[in-house]
């Protein structure tokens, strides 16, 4: 077969797929469409009570950013076929390490943050190794870590400080160059938004455009098949567990510096919210399918709903109802999209 003949037939074939249809089979479609709908809803219902002001925008973007920072690596891990339920506890633990380190042991802030990061790497490695070596479901392994880590945090915090909250970080951190990097603001918008978007770009690039990203899809889609063609599946999964744990440290640093205090209960339910954001964003619970962009929009929906409800004047008690319904609708929609993707020709 000649080269030119090959290419011309191939090209003809490619053009038969309409761009619309291609776009309709993207995993993040539901999350993008959902974000637009939610935005329109609150713009109409709560537009004149402050949802559309820069203050309102900043408030929901901050909530979205804090969830999104964790949701990006969590979605990668889910595409890689595993869960990490310990991220929420990791946020509480690393917040405490930073707060206790700086206030009780007078460590420079950067040392305390590095200490928390080192701890996160150990937790991530532990999660990853146990999952990979024992073959136990990561759901169970990290559920154990969720309880153990939270317990350790509460126990040690009480042992060292006698309390479960540590405040007064302002004196030790106010002059630190890390303060504006993690808790500064640009034009009234918290800098955490930049971290969120930066991570989103980085995560998307890694997933879509690097060798490692292809391995994530392989490891999550079918670990045995991926191993057979030479993908280091275990290394991929362990790396992803370390990434989720480290993202928890980033979030904890941002929270501690912004609030000037740490609480042992920080990050509770965050692990489930991150999974929900990823699933709304099109990630499959069984792995091998999903997108970082989807998780970013999933987090955005979370942010808009949690703050939007406040602006509508409806009691925020109803927030979780909204989230629950949203999650179900999104999953149904994603299911439909995925079956379309498998038929698409």
């Amino acid at each position: 077969m000649t080269q030119s003949a090959t290419e011309s037939t191939a090209d003809e074939r490619v053009r038969q797929v309409s761009t619309l249809r291609k776009w309709l089979t993207r995993p993040e479609l539901a999350a993008v469409a959902g974000s637009i709908l939610v935005f329109i809803f609150f713009a109409v219902v709560a537009g004149d009570s402050g949802f559309l002001t820069s203050g309102g925008t900043s408030s929901y973007l901050e909530v979205a950013a804090q969830l999104g920072i964790v949701a990006v690596p969590v979605s990668l891990l889910m595409i890689g076929g595993e869960f990490d339920l310990s991220v929420g506890s990791m946020v509480g633990a690393s917040g405490m390490i930073i707060a206790i380190g700086t206030t009780q042991y007078n460590l420079p802030l950067w040392v305390a943050v590095l200490l928390a990061l080192a701890f996160a790497v150990i937790v991530g490695l532990f999660n990853g190794y146990v999952v990979v070596r024992t073959g136990l479901p990561s759901f169970i392994v990290t559920l154990g870590m969720l309880f153990a880590l939270r317990g350790l945090t509460i126990g040690f915090a009480r042992l060292i400080t006698g309390r479960t909250q540590v405040g007064g970080l302002e004196q030790t951190t106010s002059g630190s160059p890390l303060q504006p990097i993690f808790a500064g603001s640009i034009g009234g918008f918290p800098i955490s938004i930049l971290w969120w978007l930066g991570l989103a770009v980085l995560g998307t690039w890694f997933l879509q455009r690097t060798t490692f990203g292809n391995w994530i899809f392989g490891a999550g889609g079918d670990a045995t098949a991926a191993r057979n063609v030479g993908v280091p599946v275990n290394r991929v999964k362990i790396t992803l567990f370390v990434c989720t744990a480290c993202s928890a440290v980033l979030l904890a640093t941002i929270q501690v510096l912004a609030a000037g205090s740490a609480d042992v209960l920080r990050g509770q339910l965050l692990e489930l919210q991150a999974i929900a954001a990823s699933v709304i964003g099109g990630a499959l619970l069984t792995g091998g399918y999903g997108s970082v962009v989807g998780a970013v929009f999933g987090a955005l929906i979370f942010g808009m709903v949690s703050q939007g409800i406040f602006f509508t004047g409806i009691s925020t008690d109803w927030f979780q109802v909204f989230v629950g319904v949203m999650l179900l609708v999104a999953v149904l929609f994603n299911n439909f999209i995925r079956s379309r993707a498998q038929e698409a020709r």
Binding site: T6, R13, V14, V17, A225, N228, G230, L284
Partner: protein
């Protein structure tokens, strides 16, 4: 490498799983431009042998030679690096990701340097399309998920992938077993084409007709032992089939059934007697 040196050879290989003898003293070899067929019923040890050949398992006894050089594989990756590509029954493909991503999974082409080193998607898509049309299948869009392909097409993608990555020896694990008649014929054609390209092919099957159509040499396995190796011109489909079915055992069974047939009338009367006494 001289013409007579086999690309791959195993000598007197044995593999045990605890007290189970999976393979005992198996020898086989394949040369360039040759299709070596491995025949056997379920549980004959075909899968274990493939796993040894492809580096998944290490044998407990025996020798493994590549181009006449004795060595052991630590992992499937080692085997791939030495040009031995295995297309497993599950095809080692991820249904939900694109044909291109599957094609290059584990061996992604990259461009750029250092932290900007990245997966060269455009190159990957072009090569995938070219390689697939070389082997004779038209895919409309290589970014569509593998799940949209038929069984035969997936097989073709897996074979094209192995050939593209410089396989000198192709090990095909039951490539035709899950396919319809037409698709099986297509896959057999791919095998013939691989042979023309001077590859060595080890074709595992329990379908004698498929094997005989493309094979040059046949080794029959039964319960972990070799029943012998035959050149194409010294054997026939019937003979191979008989060997696979366990020749002697089948003869005994036939004899037994005939015996039963003659004593059938006695059996029925005995049975009716039983029923009467039960009532």
């Amino acid at each position: 490498m001289t013409e007579s040196t086999p690309l791959v050879e195993v000598r007197d290989v044995s593999k045990y799983f605890g007290s189970v003898i999976a393979l005992e003293d198996i020898s086989l070899h394949v040369k360039a431009g040759e299709v070596m067929c491995l025949l056997g019923d379920n549980g004959a040890g075909k899968s274990t042998l493939i796993k040894i050949l492809s580096g998944v398992h290490q044998p407990d006894k025996g020798a493994y030679l590549i181009d006449g050089e004795e060595l052991w594989f630590e992992s499937p990756r080692d085997a791939i690096d030495r040009g031995i590509a295995t297309v497993f029954q599950d095809l080692s493909m991820i249904p939900l990701i694109s044909i291109t991503r599957n094609f290059f999974l584990g061996r992604e082409p990259t461009k750029g340097k250092g932290p900007l080193k990245r997966f060269d998607v455009a190159f990957a898509e072009r090569i995938t399309r070219e390689e697939l049309s070389n082997i004779g299948i038209d895919v409309r869009d290589t970014s569509q998920p593998v799940a949209t392909l038929s069984g035969g097409e997936r097989q073709a993608v897996a074979i094209a992938r192995a050939v593209y990555f410089g396989a000198k020896v192709l090990i095909l694990d039951e490539p035709t077993s899950a396919l319809g008649v037409k698709q099986a014929a297509t896959v057999l054609r791919y095998i013939a084409r691989a042979k023309e390209q001077d590859l060595g092919v080890i074709f595992i099957s329990h379908n004698v007709y498929h094997a005989h159509a493309v094979g040059d040499r046949f080794t029959v396995l039964d319960r972990g032992r070799s029943m012998g190796t035959f050149e194409k011109d010294e054997t026939s489909i019937e003979e191979l089939e008989k060997l696979m079915a366990g020749g002697k055992e089948l003869d005994e069974l036939t004899a037994e059934l005939q015996e039963n047939g003659s004593s059938e009338s006695e059996a029925t009367t005995a049975q009716s007697n039983d029923q009467e006494s039960n009532e």
